[in-house]
């Protein structure tokens, strides 16, 4: 793989970033990385290089066009420019822009890891509610085999979660 800067030497410095809404893999050779200050052991140059390329402050506020996050006012244009988001709600507001970069960045596009207890409880709460509705319907329709299965599922799930919050979320 050749260096992105000089295009002649073998690259051995790699990093990934988002620039202009695109995932970019940057590859530099030793000399070019040195020129950019990557080898400076004491200074802040590395941070500036890595961050600076993603968060250039020099451009004044780009004309705000297109979609805005209704909560924090962060724009689609801004995301394309800096590759970061304004607030957690931006992930829904700018969802399609986010999704276009995710596939290139990660192993998958869906979270499969840790779930905070709060979210797990509300997910289980929703499931419990749905099961109770199904159970009522099954009894109404005299589908007793289904009803027994649903009741068992409810009994298994109910003790694992805290009582539902007073307001539905």
């Amino acid at each position: 793989m050749l260096c992105d800067v000089c295009q002649t030497k073998e690259a051995n410095v790699f990093f990934t970033q988002i620039v202009n809404g695109q995932v970019q893999k940057v590859n530099l050779c030793e000399e070019c990385s040195k020129q950019k200050g990557v080898t400076d052991p004491t200074g802040f140059a590395l941070a500036e290089l890595l961050l600076g390329m993603g968060t250039t402050q020099e451009k004044p506020e780009a004309k705000v066009t297109g979609i805005l996050c209704p909560v924090c006012g962060f724009s689609q244009a801004e995301f394309k420019r800096v590759g970061r988001l304004g607030c957690p709600h931006c992930y829904e507001a700018l969802r399609s822009d986010v999704e276009t970069v995710l596939g290139n960045l990660h192993k998958g596009t869906r979270h499969t890891g840790k779930i905070p207890a709060r979210a797990a409880a509300s997910a289980a709460g929703n499931r419990l509610e749905a099961l109770r509705r199904d159970l009522a319907k099954a009894i109404d329709e005299e589908k007793f085999e289904d009803a027994v299965r649903l009741r068992d599922e409810i009994n298994a799930l109910a003790p694992t979660i805290a009582p539902p919050p007073s307001t539905a979320s």
Binding site: N12, T16, E30, S33, H111, K114
Partner: protein
């Protein structure tokens, strides 16, 4: 909470070479990124909003059982030298050190747990342990995260997982990394190949101080790039497998150097020993590289064993901010180079000479 001077009087936990594979893996770090659900990310937040996030986060972080008797400070209350000392110990990031009002660092007494508030994310929590100890480091941090989430509403999305300022950290918010000493792979010119192959499977290998064959002290950080689509334990075990392979290749490279080019190896070591024992002025770069050779020499039993602790401390103590902390004043670059040489001579004064082999050519016959 403890004072800065008390905190830094003891070395950081990761500087104690007692962990698994401590000869090659200096330290293990796990980092989790978390954000408050209803506040703008630090980079987009206005100053008042950053201060409000800090006010919401800091008490809970300080109240963690792990942080009892710990250190906590707003970044604006620390001078540049103090911040740089924390950077040199890997307790805060360079990015965090550059932050203004609204940012803080909370660090436990053992210095193996540090939580940055308002870095790129509201919380950047990290556990750092000596040696290769990814699972234990993750366990520590996972427990802290679980304690915090009982009182703090973290931003979480059913599909995207933990929401972060940058999509590169989305999902688990987990970055696992190890700092590795790889002189064998550098000297045998295999390091670029290792970097390439790791990169191809989504892992990053970067010099801690500089890159590739130019990496000072032959120190490299190996870390995961993907944070979404895999569970935490999967990310960690994938990384661990690759690290174990790198350890094996480094061992092989060292043995091969010893067998095929012992003279070159002993020459590197002898020069390092000579300069470190006798120089009166020495730059960080030169000192790091020579200390790395001593470390290699001691791990190959060419040098008196039992000095790794000392060498690993010196790798940190010779850095600019640590030198100035010891001197209790700001120093010019020349003053630092002289003090660095003095410190090295002092600490290495009792280090016996590297083992020498019997001469391969017979002494000239007397006529």
């Amino acid at each position: 909470m403890m004072r800065f001077s008390t905190l830094v009087r003891q070395p950081a936990a990761w500087m104690l070479p007692e962990g698994p594979h401590a000869d090659i893996v200096i330290s293990t770090r796990i980092r989790l990124a978390r954000n408050l659900a209803s506040r703008p990310f630090p980079g987009w937040a206005k100053k008042e909003e950053r201060l409000a996030s800090l006010a919401e986060l800091q008490p809970g972080v300080e109240a963690l059982p792990d942080m009892a008797d710990g250190f906590s400070a707003d970044l604006t209350k620390l001078d540049p030298l103090q911040k740089q000392v924390l950077v040199e110990r890997h307790l805060i990031s360079r990015e965090q050190a550059a932050k203004g009002p609204g940012s803080a660092a909370v660090i436990n007494r053992a210095q193996n747990l540090s939580i940055m508030i308002n870095e790129e994310d509201h919380l950047r929590m990290q556990a750092i342990l000596p040696g290769l100890d990814l699972t234990r480091a993750y366990g520590m941090l996972d427990a802290v995260d679980t304690q915090l989430e009982s009182t703090l509403p973290f931003a979480y999305h059913n599909e995207f997982g933990y929401l972060t300022a940058c999509p590169t950290n989305l999902g688990t918010g987990l970055r696992a990394s190890t700092m590795m000493h790889l002189p064998g792979l550098v000297l045998s010119e295999q390091i670029n190949q290792v970097i390439h192959s790791a990169n191809r499977i989504g892992l990053a290998v970067r010099g801690i101080y500089g890159e590739g064959t130019e990496a000072l002290a032959h120190l490299f950080q190996v870390s995961n790039q993907n944070t979404l689509g895999e569970r935490e334990r999967e990310i960690i075990s994938r990384l661990e497998k690759v690290i174990e392979q790198i350890i094996q290749r480094e061992h092989d490279a060292r043995q091969k150097l010893l067998q095929t080019n012992p003279t070159k190896l002993r020459d590197h070591l002898g020069r390092a020993y000579g300069v470190l024992r006798h120089a009166h002025t020495i730059e960080t770069k030169e000192a790091l590289n020579f200390l790395s050779m001593l470390r290699l020499g001691q791990d190959l039993s060419l040098l008196n064993p039992g000095n790794r602790l000392l060498i690993d401390h010196l790798l940190v103590e010779i850095q600019p901010a640590h030198l100035q902390l010891a001197a209790k004043k700001k120093l010019s670059a020349e003053e630092r180079d002289a003090l660095r040489a003095e410190l090295l001579r002092l600490h290495l004064r009792n280090l016996p000479e590297p083992e020498t082999t019997p001469p391969t050519t017979p002494p000239p016959s007397q006529e």
